[in-house]
Amino acid sequence: MPEMNLVQAINSGLRGAMRENDDVLVMGEDVGRLGGVFRVTQGLQEEFGADRVIDTPLSESGIIGTAIGMALHGMRPVSEIQFADFIYPGFDQLVSEAAKYRYRTAGEYQVPLVVRTPYGGGIRGGQYHSQSPEALFIHTAGLKVVCPSNPYDAKGLLIEAIRDDDPVIFFEPKRVYRAVKMEVPEETYGVPLSEAKIVRAGEQVTCVAWGAMLYEAFSAAEEAAKQGIDTEVIDLRTLWPLDVETIVSSVKKTGRLVVVHEAPQTCGFGGELVALVTERAFLHLEAPPRRVTGWDTPFPQTHEHEYLPLAHRIIPALIETARY
């Protein structure tokens, strides 16, 4: 099995999905000739032509809005938004249209659209090349939200998202793009949506993370283990609809929860997870659930490593929560 990094795995997933189904196409700014600013779509235009790997004008509402039209006709467009920070000009189309089309036509029409977008910090991108806006989409009924942490999951989840009949926002941790390599099958395969994965079993505290922060959660858990704290780390993989069972059973076992995410804390997905767990496992909770997140400021540049909820901030949260 070949080794792939995240960029290669997503590329392989797109290639596989396009080979499998003529209705799949890729569109976005610079995805064709250039192969994407992160080179995720490299080589696709050569294989599938400029009609299926489409360089678009600079318009996110056009990229998403026309893709919705194609999806209504039965195609399966995969739109790329160059950075998650630039999804807002297309926000109306996602929230008002893609999310509500099935509901407002009682299922007569559907929008099998995937919007791929690199998100998050770690490349010194400052305010406009670092954001993690997943909460906005999780709040929007009708959208599915996926965020893989590793190449294998990324490929499988992307293929599954493309096969899915609902609109999916697919967040790619750009900090991980070239940082992690693992064995990934050449052929297509699905990783089911809405299934979280326990990546480290533990007894004393549950730590939930996704995307790039999964690695920080994991290394914090390893570090905490040296201090005698046994952490269970859960990689959500799909953020919504949520695999709430896996989280709640884990917390019922550990009695403790730490959630990690890059987005600002307030009204982030962490608050929702804390609320869900508190509602469902109240009597099992032995410590207040903790959030380790980005601060409630725009994303900075120079100090991005103090902004991000990296291991150095997760470790004390795990220990304090476990010892509460």
């Binding site: 196409l25 009609d51 678009t56 004008p57 318009s59 509402s61 056009g62 998403i64 809005g65 026309t66 893709a67 919705i68 039209g69 194609m70 999806a71 209504l72 006709h73 039965g74 195609m75 467009p77 000009p89 109306d92 189309q93 008002s96 249209e97 509500k100 089309y101 099935r102 509901y103 407002r104 036509t105 009682a106 299922g107 007569e108 029409y109 559907q110 009924a141 009708g142 599915k144 899915d164 009949d165 609902d166 809405s194 609809p241 949520l242 709430v244 069972e245």
Partner: protein, 359 residues
């Protein structure tokens, strides 16, 4: 472009040569739409339906466009075009059920009245946000082109929508990718209270197409034959691979913006009166009478038939129950996820709201 002259005769140089039966059917459809409009307005005033947004005065622009499209072409509506859907054979009962939001409402009470759709009739779905349907129409046409299908798309929108973000995106993409999309702009003089000449500094809306290097036509939107001809011409070009066309249909919203609006606040009686004289129904009827295929009796009978049909639909609609509460929780996703199943049972098990009626 005008074809039907003041006196009801046709400009022989422009006459598209529709059979007289076809022209009569256009008139009948336009009249039927108007009768339904009028009835719905009354029902709203009586508090029997919540809302209506009509097409009074714009029937030629709407029905003429719909008639020029072929069965395999798609219609992407704004919100005043139920006449186009009915023209395609959508059952009136279904529309009336929708207006009452009852159990047979195809959208099961999830939307305001006048938010129709029908896959069977190749008619996308009405949504309220202005302009959002325009990129869909481009994508739909683009998909048809990619799939090698002989399908074009006609998309309706108003003068106000030309200021929206999505208008700009849609026009640009349609022109760049040469999609078979017809941009059917009902310039009815107003966006709620804002007159078109304050919506934009451009003298005509058709001028806007130049920014995208898209061909444009301007036509008298109250002249159903002129509308038909312009749309057919654009359709022909689109089918021949000539890409999109922008068509400005110059018309006038004789009624309020919707049943919630009072247009007297922002426009004069005289202005409305002068447009009433350009009523597209009167114009077409004059023509039919000149050709001796229509008269007062036929007209009275037809209107009476439309009313009777409508009344019967209302009677049935009002007898039907409200949609099942369960319908609130389906179709958010294709398969109902766990959290919605839970919410559904919680809702069904919980206490009911005191009143379902509103004031």
């Amino acid at each position: 472009m005008h074809i039907i002259r003041e006196d009801g005769s046709l400009d022989p140089g422009l006459d598209p040569g529709l059979s007289i039966d076809r022209v009569v059917s256009l008139y009948k459809a336009m009249t039927r739409t108007r009768v339904i409009d009028d009835r719905l307005q009354r029902l709203q005033r009586q508090g029997r339906i919540a809302f209506h947004v009509g097409s009074l005065g714009e029937e030629a622009a709407i029905i003429g466009s719909a008639a020029a499209l072929r069965d395999q072409d798609w219609i992407v509506p704004c919100y005043r075009e139920v006449g186009a859907l009915l023209w395609r054979g959508y059952p009136l009962q279904r529309y009336v059920d929708h207006m009452f939001g009852n159990a047979d409402d195809p959208i099961v009470g999830r939307q305001m009245p006048d938010h129709t759709f029908s896959r069977e009739h190749r008619y996308l779905s009405v949504s309220a946000p202005i302009g959002t349907q325009l990129p869909h129409a481009v994508g739909l046409a683009w998909a048809a082109k990619k799939r090698g299908l002989d399908e074009c798309v006609g998309v309706f929108f108003g003068d106000g929508a030309t200021s929206s973000n999505d208008f700009h995106a849609a026009m640009n993409f349609a022109a760049v990718y040469q999609t078979p999309t017809l941009f059917l702009c009902r310039n009815n003089g107003y966006a709620i209270s804002l007159p078109t000449d304050r919506q934009t500094a451009s003298r005509t809306l058709a001028e806007k197409a130049a920014a995208y290097r898209m061909p444009a036509l301007r036509v008298d939107g109250n002249d159903v034959l002129a509308v038909w001809r312009a749309v057919r011409e654009a359709l022909q070009r689109a089918c021949d691979g000539g890409g999109p066309t922008f068509i400005e249909l110059i018309t006038y919203r004789l009624g309020g913006h919707s049943t919630s609006d009072d247009p007297r606040i922002y426009r004069s009686k005289e202005e409305v009166e002068s447009w009433r004289r350009a009523d597209p129904l009167v114009r077409l009827r004059k023509h039919l009478e000149q050709r001796d295929v229509w008269d007062d009796d036929l007209d009275t009978d037809w209107r009476a038939a439309c009313k009777a049909e409508f009344k019967e639909c209302v009677r049935r609609a009002e007898e039907k129950p409200a949609p099942d509460l369960r319908e609130m929780f389906t179709d958010v996703y294709k398969d109902q996820p766990l959290h919605l199943a839970e919410q559904e049972s919680r809702c069904l098990a919980g206490p009911r709201a005191a009143e379902e009626d509103h004031d």
